[in-house]
């Protein structure tokens, strides 16, 4: 690591972002700490990471293209693998989302009683893995963090999940793994082609983007990368793992899984798949749009028939991300800004919905829609938040998701009017299944056998109020969140007409 010091003019913020949660996790695990200590330790760690992310956001959020921060050190010189981290506008937003959602996740996981040190440690390792994914620029480093974040998630689902947790955890792991192994082969093949052409073997994104590939080669490698990313941001044929994983995982796990892990697939497309294979991307855009639309409607329809509340939210995530992918496929600056903003707002809104559902489950002990009802009478504050986030999720103007959706639709209409028009009925479908969820949970007579329900505790207020404020803020004044995206999006689209 000797070369680390010289090539590093400024303070290694990015390594700190990855290292801090890891350190917190080790602290939780190593000393025999009590549950309370671990919870506070985890909270302090996530808060400090959030502070750093906020500071970076404030100082670097002005939207100029290229790397805002960069760290580089040799790692395995024999294969040209370097420890390179890079922060640009897009990853800045996602890093901030990661830090924020993990602070929320720790707060949500506060009442967890079983094996708290291990739970908090896994949560922090997951955060560190996610930071790594969003910051890595070297392909092998990216792959390493890509798989490293799977393990804590599998344990979170497998150990603290609901009844069918083991099956869901293993399915989730193997499904994602199959995709990432395909990516590994494609990555190595690309590396070899590049090494043969340029003589200097390297896994850096910038170098590999220069390899001259024949179209068939480009399709094959693009297919390998896209398989891994399509499974992760569940595009429809590959999505069946997601509802199981989300409905079986504990509350904090669901918030992380839906808020962040699904975004790693989309981020992977933006950062690696599209720049590395521009020609294949351009030819595949209509196919990607078709998959996105298929996902949008298929997930909406499936959500309408689900009985389990968490599965409805899982399918709603797939539907929303379908719209995000549509925005990406439209290859237009506004659509991309809309997509990335929708990725962030979806993380906040659906994360909040999962938090509310977890609180609901803690009170009523059930997740089945038929057994819920009449919550408004018993817990008006909780129900008000539930309604607010449900409305935000179905894209009510003035709330977070609408901003992203309208930008995606405006941008997509500009380049591909038909796609935008096809996506519009999605708004009605979203309203259909979300209002069915609200109808089942809030309205109607309270079931007889259910005892009195307590309204929100102070901790729960602390979780939901920031989420609500953010939802309304991004809905009414999204400018600060869109600012960092202008430059990078222009640069990313620059390659293609």
């Amino acid at each position: 690591m000797t070369t680390m010091a010289t090539s590093l003019p400024q303070f290694p913020w990015l390594s700190l972002l990855i290292g801090l949660p890891l350190a917190g996790a080790l602290l939780c695990l190593l000393q025999r700490r009590s549950a309370i200590e671990c919870r506070w330790l985890a909270l302090v760690t996530t808060l400090t990471t959030l502070m750093i992310a906020l500071w970076l956001f404030v100082t670097h959020g002005d939207g100029q293209a290229g790397w805002l921060l960069r760290e580089d050190a040799a790692w395995i010189p024999r294969f040209g693998i370097r420890y390179t981290l890079g922060l640009d506008g897009i990853s800045l937003l996602l890093v901030l989302l990661t830090a924020f959602l993990h602070t929320v996740a720790v707060l949500i996981a506060w009442p967890e009683q079983r094996r708290v040190p291990l739970f908090m440690a896994l949560l922090l390792i997951l955060e560190s893995g996610l930071m790594g994914v969003f910051l890595a620029v070297d392909l092998v480093l990216f792959y390493l963090f890509w798989e490293a974040m799977l393990l804590p998630m599998v344990f979170l689902i497998g150990i603290w999940g609901e009844e069918g947790r083991r099956r869901a955890a293993v399915r989730f792991f193997l499904y994602t793994l199959a995709g990432s192994l395909a990516m590994l082969i494609a990555m190595i093949a690309l590396y070899l082609l590049h090494a043969a052409q340029s003589g200097a073997p390297s896994f850096a994104l910038a170098d590999l983007a220069q390899t001259r590939l024949t179209l068939t080669q480009e399709y094959l490698l693009f297919g390998g990368f896209m398989l891994a990313f399509a499974i992760k941001a569940p595009l429809v044929p590959f999505h069946t793992w997601q509802p199981d994983a989300l409905s079986e995982s504990p509350a904090a796990g669901s918030v992380d899984l839906t808020g962040l892990l699904l975004k790693t697939g989309l981020y992977g497309m933006i950062r690696f798949a599209f720049p590395l294979f521009p020609n294949a991307t351009r030819n595949c855009l209509p196919f990607l749009a078709a998959l996105a639309l298929l996902g949008l409607f298929h997930a909406a329809w499936s959500a309408y028939r689900q009985e389990d509340v968490k599965r409805i939210l899982a399918y709603s995530s797939i539907s929303h991300l379908g719209l995000v992918v549509l925005g990406l496929a439209a290859w237009n600056a506004t659509a991309w800004q809309g997509s990335i903003l929708l990725m962030v707002t979806h993380g906040i809104v659906t994360g909040a919905l999962f938090a509310v559902v977890a609180m609901l489950r803690a009170r009523t002990g059930t997740r089945d829609l038929a057994e819920l009802g009449g919550l408004w009478g018993a817990a008006p504050a909780l129900s008000a938040f539930f309604l607010l986030f449900a409305l935000a999720s179905l894209g009510l103007p003035g709330l977070a998701n609408f901003t992203g959706e309208i930008l995606v639709l405006l941008g997509t209409f500009h380049t591909q009017p038909l796609w935008a028009l096809l996506a519009l009925p999605g708004l009605v479908f979203a309203a259909a299944y979300l209002l069915r969820l609200v109808q089942g949970a809030l309205w109607g007579p309270a079931p007889a056998n259910r005892g009195a329900i307590a309204d929100l505790t102070v901790r729960e207020w602390l979780v939901l109020v920031p989420l609500a404020l953010l939802t309304v803020w991004i809905g009414l004044y999204p400018a600060p969140f869109l600012a960092p995206l202008a430059g990078p999006v222009q640069a990313a689209l620059g390659g293609l007409p």
């Binding site: 293993v170 190595i188 093949a189």
Partner: protein
């Protein structure tokens, strides 16, 4: 045998002399602890001498080489022997093993492995191979009043003898065809168009049968699960890491010595690799016994090894050596956990015994999980870098098809490794209490885990070292 030759053979000599003295001592002095401690000391001294002694002439009496490649493996197998002896300290005393014989046999097999890793002639190869196989015949059934041990010993013995028969006749035919035992020339015997070429081909085929038995390639692997299950855990560790690793190293020596010569063998090796990876991983899926699962996993890993050998390129060979090192650390770690958990009345093998073990014995649970994940190829562990280097060599060598099969096999392998890890951390129903484990065993575990994680996080120095070793 000039003085230089003696110096070149120093590590092996230390092992052999140490083994004999301890064997003699064991006849009079029956105290287990000092004898095993002595054994450990001998192994460590051998490792140090292998590291320190200057690489004298490259070849000793035409049989063995003392090139840095051989020295590297001499160190590796001596360390493995030392670790296994450390493991067996409590294990042996609990089961009243005859300490003297036990230590001697382990050291003898370590010596045999070190020699095999440097064999430059078929005679050297045959002799060193047979020397540590004979030692292992006895070690497998060392636990006297244990039926399973005897049965395992029997199976290993019968099949080993048949394999030796094949090996001997193979070498005889190769000698008949090429007129020499020395490797580079023996391999070239295949090229010449003469009337003896068919015999040479048949000879190498038969030799491959024996090698297939030793590193349990698929049609010859049926003995592996039974012997691993029956043999005492430390001996299984030696079997899984040492015996397979040494044969792997010997293969590298043989194939690297004459690069172009063995193109004829490639289709055969290809078929064997394919069969090994697929059948091995499929058989491991429904396994309920951890030792049998590890046995099948070792079968699959040998398949990966072949995939890296096939391209016959320097990257391939260094990939094999690196992969062997990481595989040795991971397998040793896994069996070490089994050894340290086993108590007087048996070893925890059935998966039911492992339920919620991650909570009852957190350290060993974590070590086992890390070893299994490294065997599976999880990033952050050495296994990932090993697999990465291996796939890189395979794809570069043009064996992309086999690399894809290797990917599928590792996907399936993730399934059964993860299943075990999930069992480790599943809900904690009441399970039989296991041995708390001595500090020495914890030391061995620490060595293995730190090796795995170090090779996972910062493999650059070892990769560069290995690149210089390849002949």
């Amino acid at each position: 045998m000039t003085w230089l030759d003696v110096l070149a053979l120093a590590p092996v000599l230390v092992l052999v002399i140490g083994a004999t003295t301890l064997l003699m001592a064991g006849a009079w002095y029956h105290e287990t602890r000092p004898l095993i401690a002595g054994g450990i000391a001998v192994a460590l001294v051998a490792a140090v001498t292998a590291g320190v002694a200057p690489p004298s002439p490259m070849e000793i009496a035409g049989l063995f080489s003392s090139a840095p490649f051989a020295r590297y493996f001499a160190i590796l197998w001596s360390l493995v022997a030392a670790l296994i002896l450390m493991l067996s300290l409590r294990y042996a005393s609990e089961r009243e093993f005859a300490a003297g014989e036990y230590v001697a046999l382990v050291l003898f097999s370590a010596a045999g492995m070190a020699l095999l890793s440097g064999a430059t002639s078929l005679v050297g190869l045959f002799l060193s191979l047979e020397s540590f196989t004979l030692a292992l015949y006895i070690l497998v059934s060392f636990h006297r009043n244990n039926n399973q041990g005897a049965e395992a010993g029997l199976k290993y013995l019968v099949l080993g003898a048949v394999a030796t028969g094949f090996m001997a006749f193979g070498i005889a035919l190769i000698y008949a065809a090429s007129g020499t035992f020395h490797l580079p020339e023996a391999l070239n015997g295949l090229q010449v168009g003469g009337h003896l070429r068919p015999w040479g081909l048949l000879g190498w085929g038969l030799a491959l049968v024996a090698i297939g038995f030793k590193i349990s390639l698929v049609p010859f692997h049926l003995w592996t699960p039974d012997v691993y299950q029956g043999a005492p855990a430390p001996v299984t560790a030696l079997l899984a890491t040492g015996s397979k690793g040494a044969v792997g190293a010997a293969l590298v020596m043989v194939l690297a010595s004459a690069p172009g010569a063995w193109q004829e063998l490639v289709p055969l090796l290809w078929v064997l690799a394919l069969l090994t990876m697929l059948v091995g991983s499929l058989c491991a899926l429904p396994q309920e016994n951890l030792k049998r699962l590890l046995a099948y996993s070792s079968v699959v890993h040998m398949g990966y090894l072949l995939t890296a050998l096939l391209p016959g390129s320097p990257e391939g060979y260094s990939a094999v050596v690196f992969y062997l090192t990481v595989y040795t650390a991971a397998s040793l770690g896994a069996f070490a956990v089994i050894t340290s958990l086993s108590n007087a009345h048996g070893e925890p093998q059935k998966l039911a015994a492992w339920h919620g073990l991650g909570y009852r014995y957190p350290v060993r649970g974590a070590v086992l999980a890390t070893c299994l994940l490294s065997l599976a190829g999880m990033p952050l562990t050495g296994g990932f870098i090993g697999k990465f280097v291996l796939f890189h060599a395979a794809i570069k060598g043009g064996f992309t098809g086999l690399a894809v099969v290797a990917i599928l096999a590792s996907l399936v392998s993730f399934a059964y490794y993860l299943r075990v890890v999930m069992v480790l951390y599943s809900s904690d129903e009441p399970a039989p209490a296991l041995h708390p484990g001595t500090s020495l065993e914890h030391a061995v575990l620490l060595v293995c885990v730190s090796a795995i994680l170090l090779l996972g996080l910062y493999p650059a120095p070892l990769l560069d070292l290995i690149a210089t070793l390849i002949p």
